[in-house]
Amino acid sequence: MIDFLRGYEDYLGGWLWEMGIASLATLQLMFVSFWLACAIGMVAALIPMARIKSLNLLVKLYIGFFRGVPVLVILYWIYFALPEMGYEVLVVSSYTAAILGLGIHGGAFLAEIFRSGIESLHKGQMEAALSLGMTPAKAMAYIVLPQAIRVVLPPIANFAVGLLKETALCSIIAAPELMLRAKDLASSSFLPMHAFVMAAVFYYIMSFPLMRAVEYLEVKMGKGLRTG
């Protein structure tokens, strides 16, 4: 153990700095793709409620497909396969590809969470809003969604924890983030174990507050909010 820790002697300062910077890049990647996933997920959850058959089918295919395919495959697709197939317009930087991949994949996941949140509400809520003269859109905006958001906050925070860890996959397409930096440091120092242990610590430090947030939200949202 002592021997292992000694291995860090020459590198600790530099690694802390470099991995710290890379962690910021990981957080940025996570946040941007998180919001993209939220936006896509919300749209995909609301479209079926407009009862337009063709759009509905499209959303179903999207959710079904992306939930069933590993995010790594999607990253490869976006970064390597599509440009190779001649879609040159689709050539993007590894960073953009990472955001798109995580966002599109996550959107399918969040769509299901949003949908279940909306459906968990008693239909009396929608009916009460309609009976007061709200259009379905207004009822959704002012009555149903504000309640659904509370129901889905814990699973969304859970998704965020998962997303943070999934960003590590983006190192495969060389998107700048923590895992890529750890790999670099591992190969330049010939101390892979040391580098990846340290990366694990950095990931843990980032996900810890999120995990606490999940616990907090589960307790807080669990109580109250009964529909009469």
């Binding site: 009460a128 309609l130 007061l132 709200m134 859109a137 504000p146 009964r226």
Partner: protein
């Protein structure tokens, strides 16, 4: 005088189950109509059809001579758009059996949300009106409370205030007291009685026979999706002509 509400040969089926089998009713302005009948007789469905929470399978509904839920285009009946329908619904109040207050809003916001979002009033005006309505149902002091902190009776009174604030032409009450503990029924009936005394047009589905007898101008007894008999309350309750009405009333009173 022209009726405020006119229901013409209304039918409603859920799949093969016929719930309303041709209902026609006229309700005069200011009239208090009670609908009684065994469960499954179609009373609630009838009420829900009037503001189009259920789409009728056939038949038409008119309020103030205006078709509800549909319009005539080149002589054909077509369903209204969401926006047109919402406008009509705003004029018809609906009090639910289970209150259906919005749990994420305070009592005041429950009442002011429709004036703000439907009528487009400023927040202050809407809240002023809402507070006046809460006052009317005796709950101004609970304006800041969330529904889950209110008793069932208080929740239902807030729900009534939420309906009144929209100044509806017609108020529909769907078993407004049957989800309440017995000791809470009185406070809600008191509010409903006050509304009746103000001359509002109301249609109540109810099991509160003495109350219905006291405040209604007319009582309808429904069974199997049809109107079995109708008349002034004292006639229906003390001297019903149909055997089915008699059996039903005996069951209710023996309860």
């Amino acid at each position: 005088m022209k009726p405020l509400l006119r229901i013409v040969d209304l039918h409603k089926s859920f799949g093969t189950l016929e719930v309303l089998a041709g209902i026609s009713i006229d309700v005069a302005r200011g009239e208090k109509l009670s609908i009684i009948g065994p469960s499954g007789s179609g009373k609630t469905t009838l009420l829900r059809c009037i503001n189009y929470l259920e789409k009728p399978t056939a038949g038409h509904i008119y309020v103030d001579d205006k078709l509800i839920g549909e319009k005539q285009v080149n002589g054909k009946f077509v369903h209204l758009s969401d926006r047109e329908l919402a406008k009509e619904r705003a004029e018809i109040g609906f009090v639910f059996q289970r209150f259906n207050l919005f749990p994420h809003l305070t009592a005041l916001d429950n009442v002011s949300v429709a004036p703000r979002r439907v009528l487009g009033l400023e927040k202050r005006d809407a809240e002023e009106r809402a507070l006046a309505m809460l006052e009317k149902v005796g709950l101004a002091h609970k304006a800041g409370e969330y529904p889950e902190r209110l008793s069932g009776g208080q929740q239902q009174r807030v729900a009534i205030a939420r309906v009144l604030v929209m100044q509806p032409k017609l108020i529909l009450l769907d078993e407004a007291t049957s989800a309440l503990d017995p000791e809470l029924i009185g406070e809600v009936l008191k509010v409903i009685r006050e509304l009746a005394e103000e001359g509002r047009t109301m249609i109540m589905v109810t099991h509160e026979i003495p109350f219905a007898e006291e405040i209604s101008d007319r009582v309808i007894f429904m069974d199997d999706g049809k109107i079995v008999e109708e008349g002034p309350p004292h006639e229906i309750f003390s001297n019903p002509t149909h055997e089915r009405t008699r059996v039903f009333l005996r069951q209710i009173i023996d309860r």
